[in-house]
């Protein structure tokens, strides 16, 4: 008996060893993976910090401008997984944005018109999240279009664009979108100065008739809309305003923008220039010839009062408060700043204002207490050519810190006094102390970082943890895909108490993202599906019909896994077709696409959504229509025939 048990034990032991060896043969050790893939311990650490297992969700969500794509890119952090491209200024077929659906057509092609012209692209630069008391509330996102001065509203319940507003006086803009601490206003500042009126004005009259401006778009949070009729602008000198920001806490009520052509220089370099402007050095030389440009300081509270008192001029049906009125009411000031700056950022307390001059190695930290003290005492160094008081730079400064070559944009940490600034020429990120004015650490990036974003880094309570460098060039970072390289977003661990560590390179193959905002993902309050009652033209199940009035045919149809109702529709050549279509699904993620072949229409109908398409049935024939989203096992069978009979 004992021997039997002994041999049994031996057998089991041998089996276990064999099994272990077998398992070993089929399993991979971490060491082996490291060896095979030539990875270091640092690489593994970075992988462990970013890897997000299937089904797990990211802690943060990033909204990045999509640059020339006219869209917004959404991705998660730390995984850097792309979640969506939100269609904003550009038609986007997957989301059915601008492909025949009446709602998106209205936003894109009617609201989005610039001086009556349909524009089908945008140059998105700076997204801004709606705020309550200076903290993100996760409800709305705003984004600007530099090329065709416009601002768009994106509702984060649905991650869709709900409004585009055209700036009535600007011909170019850049300093948008930024919001006041309770999202009362969305701020938009102009860039290249131009006449407000839509007419030709010769460049000889630049100083007199070309102007910059800052528009304060009144935002109605309840309606989720910009109220154009309660919005106004402030006239600014033709100094090519750049980035803006709204004051917070200690500086609440003030708005700032910087500039980079206080020289008011006009170039003309090279052959082919208009006769009067030839043989001059290019803009880049003249615009950066002075050592300083001007930080603009606008008292929004006073500007609001002036607007309410009617102290404005109507230009292009839009109220504009003149510089004279602003100056007479102590509401507009200038302060010298290092030349060609890109970015004016307010720290979480609202006291310190950081400006980086791209052609200076220093960042300058201004103190709002010192600035307002000078204003209270009316202690000005001078006035500019337009009579705007100029505050003393030295008396306004808290101090300057030398960080490196090409300081550009700053974000803040959760640790008091700590900031991060991108160094464009150095291709590095500097961590520094803006209270004690010292550089703490630098980390190289690849390459030419423009903006950077830290977690909730422009709010009153930044989170620290993560920082992303939005790099302009990627050069050798990714597989060569032709001469146009992707941009490179590099994720950096900035956890307190550790050295900064580069974690991840994410190629962005959709335009050049400029700025991004990073929010705690649990602030989102998105919906899972639409409520059918939200749509005026919703079609109830069983009430589908086709109604003809003369040559106007209205189709009231529904779709649900896996059929349209009706499935066979007949019209006559020349009929004007209005097609209401409701997705009856209530299940999450049960989206159906809709197209009528050859009609250049496409919709994406999320559960509960109704869309309306209008088109002329102009050519006789047989047109299949079908669901374009693989919705169910019988998705291919989800089709119908749209028959256009000859007259």
């Amino acid at each position: 008996m004992f021997n039997k048990s002994k041999s049994l034990m031996k057998w089991i032991l041998l089996s276990l060893i064999a099994l272990g060896l077998g398992a070993e043969a089929f399993s991979q050790s971490l060491d082996q993976v490291m060896k095979d893939r030539n990875l270091t311990q640092q690489d593994l650490l970075a992988a462990a910090k970013t890897y997000t297992p299937s089904g797990k969700k990211d802690e943060y969500i990033v909204f990045s401008s999509g640059g020339q794509s006219g869209q917004v890119i959404v991705y998660g952090v730390p995984s850097m997984r792309i979640l969506k491209y939100i269609a904003v200024f550009t038609p986007e077929p997957w989301q059915g944005y601008g492909y025949g659906d009446a709602h998106s057509n209205k936003i894109l092609y009617e609201q989005g018109k610039v001086r009556g012209r349909t524009i089908t692209w945008g140059d998105t630069h700076h997204p801004a999240l709606s705020e309550v008391e200076g903290d993100y509330d996760g409800k709305f996102l705003f984004i600007n279009d530099k090329a065709n001065p416009r601002v768009a509203v994106i509702d984060l319940k649905t991650f869709t664009t709900t409004q585009i507003v055209e700036n009535p006086i600007m011909k170019s803009e850049h300093g948008a979108a930024f919001v006041t601490p309770n999202t009362e206003y969305v701020i938009e500042a102009s860039q290249y100065a131009a006449p407000f009126e839509n007419k030709y004005v010769p460049l000889e009259e630049y100083n007199e008739k070309y102007r910059g401006a800052m528009t304060f778009w009144k935002f109605n949070k309840k309606k989720g809309k910009i109220e154009k009729k309660q919005s106004f602008s402030v006239e600014l000198p033709p100094y090519w305003q750049d980035l803006s920001d709204s004051g917070k806490k200690m500086s609440e009520g003030w708005v700032f923008t910087n500039s980079f052509n206080s020289e008011r220089y006009i170039g003309g370099f090279g052959k082919g220039n208009t006769e009067k402007w030839k043989n001059r050095l290019p803009h880049e030389a003249g615009v950066s010839s002075k050592d300083t440009d001007y930080l603009h300081m606008i008292n929004l509270e006073t500007a609001k009062k002036l607007y309410k008192q009617g102290k404005y001029t109507i230009i292009n049906d839009h109220p504009v408060i003149s510089m004279d009125v602003m100056v007479a009411n102590d509401a507009l000031f200038l302060i010298p700043e290092p030349k060609s700056p890109h970015g004016v950022m307010i720290d979480p307390t609202g006291q310190y204002i950081t400006v980086s001059g791209k052609l200076d190695t220093h960042v300058s930290v201004y103190d709002i207490k010192k600035m307002t003290a000078l204003i209270d005492k009316k202690e000005y160094d001078d006035t500019d050519a337009y009579g705007i008081p100029i505050l003393s730079m030295t008396k306004s400064l808290h101090g300057q810190v030398e960080l490196g070559l090409g300081p550009l944009h700053t974000q803040y940490d959760s640790v008091k006094g700590i900031a991060y600034t991108s160094l464009f020429v150095d291709s590095a990120i500097a961590k520094w102390d803006f209270i004690n004015l010292k550089l703490l650490e630098k980390i190289p990036i690849n390459y030419n970082v423009g903006h950077l974003v830290s977690a909730e880094g422009d709010t009153v309570s930044p989170d620290g943890k993560y920082l992303i460098a939005l790099n302009k060039l990627s050069i050798d970072r990714f597989i060569q895909i032709g001469p146009l390289h992707p941009q490179n977003h590099q994720l950096i661990d900035i956890t307190e108490g550790r050295k900064m560590q580069l974690l991840y390179d994410m190629p962005i193959g959709l335009g050049e993202p400029h700025y991004a905002v990073m929010m705690k993902a649990d602030k989102l309050k998105t919906i899972k599906r639409y409520k059918k009652k939200w749509f005026k033209h919703r079609v109830k199940p069983g009430r589908e019909k086709v109604v003809r009035k003369g040559n106007k045919v209205t189709i009231h149809s529904t779709l649900i896994r896996s059929h349209f109702s009706p499935e066979v529709i007949e019209v006559v050549v020349g009929d004007e077709v209005t097609w209401h279509i409701t997705n009856l699904e209530r299940a999450q993620d049960e989206t159906h696409g809709f197209t009528v072949d050859q009609m250049n229409i496409h919709g994406s109908l999320e559960p509960g959504e109704t869309e309306t398409f209008t088109f002329i049935a102009d050519v006789e024939g047989v047109y299949p229509f079908y669901c374009t989203e693989f919705c169910s096992a019988l998705h291919l069978e989800m089709m119908g025939y749209f028959m256009v009979k000859p007259k």
């Binding site: 899972k528 409520k531 896994r561 299940a587 999450q588 049960e590 096992a633």
Partner: protein, 167 residues
């Protein structure tokens, strides 16, 4: 139990795919096809019942009061009723007021599975009537339509199962 359900799910979809690719039936085959489809639907309902019995106790608290392995359809409707107790379906405010659930994501998938299941009944009844009149083609098409809803039900049911199993 878990592996049994998985096995049945695979069988169900295999059967479905076979049906999809089994070619065109001629008129004489409609009666036979109808009978085969009735059997397939009965078998499918059997699989669905297994999924319901497996998933039900993992969705709602006090499952003993709602989930009854001897009455899977009753269990499924019970889960729906429990979820809908504060809903106004006409006003479309479903899922705005969810009661306590053991797994909300899975429960919402399960809710839709039940919706799909409910839709198959009327087609089967119509099929039965047509079969009694020996209108085998129409009977077959109605039974086929019922099958489509059962597949949709199974599809969402499997989602619910995957979510509760954290697969």
């Amino acid at each position: 139990m878990k592996s049994n359900v998985k096995k049945w799910c695979i069988l169900l979809f295999s059967a479905f795919m076979v049906m999809c690719f089994s070619g065109m039936a001629n008129a004489e085959d409609y009666q036979a096809n109808y009978m085969a489809k009735v059997k397939q639907n009965n078998d499918t309902i059997g699989v669905i019942a297994g999924v319901i019995n497996y998933v039900c106790p993992k969705l709602v608290p006090d499952a003993d009061k709602i989930c009854n392995p001897k009455d899977p359809v009753g269990s499924a409707v019970g889960v729906q009723k429990y979820m809908e107790k504060d809903w106004d379906r006409e006003e479309d405010d479903i899922e705005d007021n969810l009661p306590e659930l053991l797994n909300e994501d899975a429960a919402l998938q399960f809710w839709d599975a039940v919706e799909q299941f409910k839709l198959h009944f009327s087609y089967r009844e119509t099929a039965k009537k047509l079969a009694a009149e020996k209108k085998w083609h129409d009977a077959f098409l109605n039974e086929e339509m019922a099958f489509q809803y059962l597949v949709k039900c199974a599809s969402r049911g499997i989602f619910a199962k995957k979510i509760v199993d954290n697969e």
